[in-house]
């Protein structure tokens, strides 16, 4: 019983903390139409896992480096006005495939790839909390510090520029925050589902929010609820935890969209 409690407490702490930090970032991902961007960065993180194995680095560091490199590459291409849709698809899937192939070369190292693809929140150890705490503090701190500037850039780059805000620097802040969330989320909900944890609570919150700040707070609440609900469902029905969390978030999204439509102002 003692064991059971400890791993559940760790899972709840890690999951709720991740969803709280993912919420404001997820709002920006939604507002700036970066959903695919988040997805591609997350997919590339499997290559980061391979890198960590190759150089015996902590997984967090390897994934952070690759996620950052991927996000920077996409930002640079975006700035040059490239049509991103196809390019993102190509990069997302080829980095994911390259990561999977590379990992297979380390067959002597026994790793559970499924844990990185779909997360293994129940295996979070106390020693992981150093990274999780530090990373999430950084993400929330960065976004809180740059909040108004980021919001102005999101509305209109020229408007921001006229106010003395540098849109390129703010984009970099978002890129860094995204890489951090991916690096932290890979162990908790996995590479495939981290983008879902960013987008779904934010999209669900849109139906109830009047201001950007309200949307971020409601998204955080939805994210935390989905995490708790997913953990409970996973324990009760013995379902995989990461997907259970996302299923809960999706249920919240559909309920909220339905309520929003009933109130006559659904997501258009």
């Amino acid at each position: 019983m003692e064991m059971f409690d400890a791993f559940l407490v760790r899972a709840i702490l890690a999951g709720v903390a991740l969803s709280l930090a993912a919420a404001p970032l997820g709002c920006f991902v939604v507002w700036r139409r970066m959903a695919y961007f988040g997805d591609a960065t997350a997919h590339a993180s499997i290559l980061g896992v391979a890198l960590s194995l190759a150089f015996a680095l902590p997984v967090f560091i390897g994934v952070l480096l690759i996620a950052l490199a991927m996000a920077l590459a996409i930002s640079a291409l975006q700035a040059r006005g490239q049509t991103l849709d196809t390019l993102l698809g190509v990069m997302a899937h080829s980095t994911l495939a390259l990561g999977l192939v590379t990992v297979s070369f380390f067959s002597d190292v026994r790793i559970d790839l499924m844990a990185y693809l779909f997360g293994d929140i129940l295996s979070v150890a106390w020693s992981d909390f150093l990274w999780i705490g530090l990373g999430l503090f950084l993400v929330v701190g960065l976004l809180g510090w740059r909040w108004s500037a980021l919001l102005t850039c999101t509305l209109n780059r020229d408007l921001a520029q006229a106010e003395g805000i540098n849109p390129k620097r703010e984009q970099l802040v978002l890129t860094l925050a995204l890489a951090l969330i991916v690096a932290l989320g890979i162990q908790i909900v996995g590479a495939i589902l981290i983008a879902a944890l960013l987008i779904i609570p934010a999209a669900a919150a849109r139906n109830f929010a009047n201001t950007p700040e309200a949307m971020a707070l409601i998204a955080a609440a939805f994210g935390a609820c989905a995490t708790l609900g997913g953990l409970a469902a996973s324990l009760h029905w013995d379902t995989p935890t990461g997907p259970s969390i996302i299923c809960c978030a999706a249920a919240l999204f559909f309920t909220s969209t339905l309520l929003g439509a009933l109130r006559g102002r659904g997501l258009s």
Binding site: V30, W31, R32, R33, G81, S148, A149, L151, T152, T154, L155, N156, R157, D158, L159, A160, Q161, A162, E163, I165, A202, A203, R206, A209, N210, T211, P212, E213, A214, M215, L267, S268
Partner: protein
């Protein structure tokens, strides 16, 4: 002492030269209007002045610590972004409520509401943009086609508001427009742009210059007649000039996203 000076400015976008050897300077408290057909580089000029585009060559000098209030041509609010009027005005700096109300009054906005920006009419939306730009107590107000999507009387009312703002705050105003008729009435000085400066001077001088007439063709007479009319009489009788204008009502500015395609009679005459 001019607030902002561009000397021999050339700007390229995606390898295509959009502006060539443009000289421009704005003195305090003057209303300067840049007119020109679609694609003549008006917006590019403004974006260079606020620092969004790095010029290919030429020099740009700003008065130290110059405060610029900027009203963009179009502001698309993504449907996923909830934003009230008061929250928008407080971007990027939170300001006391009484400053918000004062700026709103100056912009001719009744009061700062909690309405969503996406629900405003075109005219209200423009006034919110203007009010937000006034919050920093600008020395220079830059407006890019501020009456796009407004009907004729709405546009006339908006320009009168700009003139009032100038009188009350003493700020200089730089306007961009391809709507010659109404805008010229409000200007001290007009620059006619078509990739380069074609001609400049007082509204009368520009309207009677051969360069201007080449660029805008037959509509010149109408514009000039209208200019005199608007200047000499009460501005409220807008119904008199509808025959010059062929207004094509467009949607509110908030939703205008596509590329500009010759939207009105003036532009068609160029083709």
């Amino acid at each position: 002492m001019s607030l902002i000076t561009a000397k021999n400015l050339s700007v390229a976008l995606n390898g295509r030269t959009v502006l060539q050897n443009v000289d421009l300077s704005i003195s305090s408290a003057e209303i300067l209007t840049v007119i020109g057909p679609n694609g003549s580089g008006k917006t590019t000029l403004l974006r260079s002045l606020i620092g969004s585009i790095t010029p290919l060559k030429g020099a740009l000098t700003r008065q130290a610590g110059l405060r610029i209030g900027y009203v963009p041509q179009k502001l698309h609010i993504d449907a996923t972004l909830p934003l009230t009027v008061s929250r928008f005005m407080a971007l990027p700096r939170r300001v006391p409520a009484k400053d918000l109300e004062a700026a709103a009054a100056q912009a001719g906005l009744g009061h700062v509401s909690q309405a969503q920006l996406s629900q405003l009419s075109g005219g209200q939306f423009q006034r919110v943009l203007l009010a937000r730009a006034l919050l920093c107590r600008p020395q220079l107000l830059i407006l890019d086609e501020p009456t796009q999507g407004l009907d004729h009387s709405g546009a006339a009312a908006f320009y009168r508001q700009i003139e009032t703002v100038r009188q009350n705050t003493g700020c200089a105003v730089l306007l961009v427009s391809h709507d010659l008729h109404v805008v010229m009435a409000a200007s001290d000085r007009v620059i006619c742009l078509n990739g380069h400066v074609c001609c400049q001077g007082s509204p009368e001088q520009v309207a009677s210059s051969p360069e201007y007439q080449t660029l805008f063709g037959a509509s010149t007479d109408g514009a000039m007649a209208l200019y005199r009319h608007e200047h000499d009489h009460d501005h409220d009788h807008d119904d008199h000039h509808d025959h010059h204008h062929n207004d094509h009502p467009r949607g509110p500015v908030a939703t205008v996203t596509g590329p500009k395609v010759a939207p009105d009679a003036n532009a068609k005459e160029l083709a």
